[in-house]
Every structure is written in structure tokens, then in C-alpha cells.
Amino acid sequence: MTLILFSYFAAVIVATAIGVIASRKPVNSALALLVMFFHVAGLFVLLDAEFIAAVQIIVYAGAILVLYLFVVMLLNVRAEEGYHRQFVVGLVVGLAILIEAVLILSRSGFADRFPPTVSLAPSAAAIQGNTEAIGRALYTTYLFPFEVASLILLVAMIGAIILAKKGIFGKEERRK
């Protein structure tokens, strides 16, 4: 059952990821990415990470992608006629790295060290609940990285305001 669900989610994720980079209109790319985010969230539920799945939908699909769609519609860009002229090189390089990595992975005996039998004994996270376990780790062990993350968000906010505001350096003021 889990394998069937995984296969469905994986197939849709790969298909929509290809749709993101292949479709000519940016709006179609963004909507394909939306479908992909929902299926990645489904994969997270499959992995017993319910809270992360909810955050994935709320933050990625609800906030980040809406921002993308907003900018796409604001700029009203035309559809591309073709890909970049390094299309063939990019494709060959990407596929070569992919094949190499899959080869390395399949020969490393990596899968034997993580046998597919999970939760022989119910873990601590499963007993006290996923959200509680994450909160406990986030606010005790990872408190300092958490504060640094808030600083990153502050810097991003200030940077976006400064970059997008017209005439904040006084030079463009005359053009109005």
C-alpha cells in the first residue's frame, strides 16, 4: 500500500517537475510547481511528518507560490520562443550527473544499511506526537539557529523593500 502511494506521488512529482522546466509560459510553470508542492506534502505524510506536510502547503503553496504568481502577472511577460542556446549542453551535463549519481548510489550498498523495516519499536517522536517533538527540538537544541533564521527573514524583508522601492537612492526621482 505504501509502495503504491509512493509510486503515485513520485510519478506526479517527477512529471510536474519536468512540466515546470519545460512549459513555455511562466504561469504554467508556477501552477505545475503548485501541484508538485502538494504531492511533496503527501510524501511527507507518508513519512510520518505531518507537521512538515502542513507547513509545506501553508508556506510554500500558500505564500511563496502566490508571490511568484503575483510577480508573473505583474510583469506580464510573453511566452518564450525557445530555450537558452546552451540547451543541449545543459541537458547532457544534467543527465550525465544524474546517471553518475544513481550509479554511485546503487553500487554503494547504501540501501542495506537502512533496511526498509521502520518503527520496530515506536520512536519517541511517535509517542509524543510529531508537532510536539519538532517544537521541543526547535526551541531547546536548535534555539540559536532559530534566532538566526529570524535574522535572515529580517534581512530579506529590508532587502526587498530597498530593492523594489522606486527612487530610494534619489537618482530616479527626477524621471517622475
Binding site: D48, Q56, G159
Partner: protein, 100 residues
Amino acid sequence: MVPLSYYVILSLIVFMIGVIGVLIRRNIIVILLSIELMLNAANINFVAFSHYLQNVTGQVFVFFVLTVAAAEVVVGLAIIIALYRGKSTIHVEDVNRMKW
């Protein structure tokens, strides 16, 4: 049950699709979307390892990836808007002033 290597290979495929997208597309917005693909591939890996090692740390790291993704999107889109205002294009080969 699904072996861990399936998840790793899935995230590898998604990551490489993102890399190919960055290399072949001309629209800067789609290039940023490809970067989102790569970040999501990393998230799949984090959560899969967190599940198989029975350790919640991987899921905490997804939060930090999410924070960085949000910051990257906000700054990137602000740069795109500033670029479009100045040059009326968001195609990468039209923006080559800093190329030697």
C-alpha cells in the same frame, strides 16, 4: 515498505531536473522556480532520513531550508522587479552588462 534509496533517488531526479532548468531556461522567474525544485529535493531527503533514522532533527532542518527559501524568493523577486523596471526584460541573455 519503501526502501530509503527510493526516496534518495527521487530527490536526486528532482534536483537534477532543477539543475537542468537553471541551465536551459531564459526566463529568470522560471530559473527561480527551478531553484525551488532543488530546495524541495533537499527537503525530501531531510524528511526521508529523519524517518529512517527515527530522529526529528531532519524535520527541524526543513524549517531552516524553508526560511532560506522564503528569503531567497523575496529578494530574488525584488531584484527581478528592479531589473524589469530598468531594462524591460527578464531574459537572461539580455542582461549581460557585468559579463566581461
